[in-house]
């Protein structure tokens, strides 16, 4: 009886420890989300979404340029990263083992852990110094961050497709590339889409690589070769400005960015559950 009681108490203590640790992990998060929600909501209005910013110091205006910029950057980045990432993953998972394949995998893993500012510096020296700030340069920097995530998750998803699915495809008398593109990719589709969404959620919030590539722009853009604004850039610039109205707008932009990332994460959850 005594033994059983001691065990029960130990069990209780352990549970309490877990709960305390959980509080440490979750309380700052709740605080951030709560503050962003409370302060951000005050900035949000129709004008906030559809108008351009007013000159510094003037009250009013919106961040339509940053919303447009973030969408342009995400679209450019993804239209480049998705095909490159998936085709790389196919090479890694579907073709014979060799030293080159291992090298690609090592590079891809290394890139996945590279600080994002390094991607920005790289894009700056390669593109911006020759052609100036542009959405293309920003998307290039973001692609460096997105591609390894897409490669990694797509490769894992492809590897989970049983070998006899490939053999069944081949035994129907189809060429290998057709089996891969029509059957194997389809079987791995949920995992691949999850990886793409995770990469998207990551690049949406990146600030550092955009500072010296996309640069920012108070106007709408007409071509991807112009500098472009983005939500994280607006947050950075407005939050460090001396104007209270801009501080509030930074909170508003943060709220919108947070909701976008939340939406992407919910999409991932939904995809994974199916």
């Amino acid at each position: 009886m005594e033994m059983a009681k001691t065990k029960l108490i130990k069990d209780k203590i352990f549970t309490i420890y877990c709960f305390i640790s959980l509080s440490f992990a979750i309380l700052p998060l709740i605080h951030i989300v709560g503050t962003t929600l409370v302060r951000g909501i005050k900035a949000v209005s129709l004008e906030f979404f559809i108008s351009l910013p007013k000159p510094p110091g003037e009250v009013g205006g919106g961040i339509a340029n940053a919303i447009e910029g973030s969408i342009i950057l995400a679209a450019l980045t993804m239209s480049f990263s998705i095909p490159v990432g998936i085709l790389t993953a196919i090479y890694l998972s579907e073709y014979q083992d060799n030293w080159f394949r291992n090298l690609v995998r090592l590079l891809s893993d290394t890139f996945a852990g590279t600080p994002s500012i390094v991607a920005g510096v790289f894009a700056y020296s390669l593109i911006v110094r020759k052609f100036g700030f542009s959405a293309i340069a920003g998307a290039f920097a973001l692609s460096i961050l997105a591609i390894p995530t897409i490669v990694r998750s797509s490769e894992e998803a492809l590897k989970l497709v049983p070998i006899d699915v490939r053999e069944a495809g081949l035994s129907l008398g189809a060429e290998k590339w057709k089996v891969i593109t029509k059957i194997v990719i389809r079987a791995a589709r949920p995992g691949i889409i999850t990886g793409i969404l995770l990469a998207l959620a990551r690049i949406m919030g990146e600030t550092a690589p955009l500072l010296f590539t996309a640069f920012g722009n108070p106007e709408f853009v007409r071509s991807p070769f112009e500098p472009v604004s983005a939500l994280p850039l607006v947050i950075y610039v407005y939050a460090t400005s001396p104007y209270p109205d801009w501080h509030q707008k930074a909170w508003g932009a943060a709220l919108i960015l947070m909701l976008m990332v939340l939406a992407i994460n919910l999409a991932v959850k939904y995809k994974l559950r199916r």
Partner: protein
Amino acid sequence: MPSDEKIAIRNLSAWYGDFQALKNINMVIRDRSITAIIGPSGCGKSTFIRCINRLHELKRGAKVEGEVILDGRDVYKMDPVEVRSRMGMVFQRPNPFPNMSIYENVAIGLKLRGIKDKEYIDKVVRESLQKAALWEEVRDKLHELGTNLSGGQQQRLCIARAIATNPEVLLLDEPASALDPISTSKIEDLLVSLKKEYTIVIVTHNMQQAARIGDYTAFFLNGELIEYGKTTQVFENPRDRRTEEYITGRFG
């Protein structure tokens, strides 16, 4: 050459790296009949049928020597894609293509060949599912996922998928080993009805199954073909002592 000869195997040997899985196999598979391949685990019977449709060579370190002559032509001198388009295969574990409906699973073989005529595809899907004795069970849910069917239904779906492209030969690698007795007997009945149209080679570890449905039976042991003949002869009057020992359950 006898007129009912469909596939002639000549001096066929196969390796996985240094391990020789098949040793100089010679046999003739007859048209529109069921040939059962029996033998204990690891005797090379799966490797044997995977050499017929050239799947074996895709494994790393795999090697094949000898000839597999299909209607007078060596498949090892043909384009493997052509070889496989003339042979359907059904695997041990039911493996409908994931994230594809029942309909798509049967239609995919035609679509991969560039056939787009929807009416024709509809007709083939229906006929293939009927031949595979699955139509009545799935006709109202053709657009549900193939992987949602029961194990036995999935295997019949795989048979429908394999015959939709109208192959001449049907290769089955222990197709009923993962199924319950009722599903197994359905598959057996199905194969007997299919032999009117196809040359069927079935690998099985189940001797009763070979005896029930096989017209011919081949007994493999340690990569060698020990005995091959009419099923009745192999089971009732084996010529080799090892065959007799195996079918009477003294080993394997």
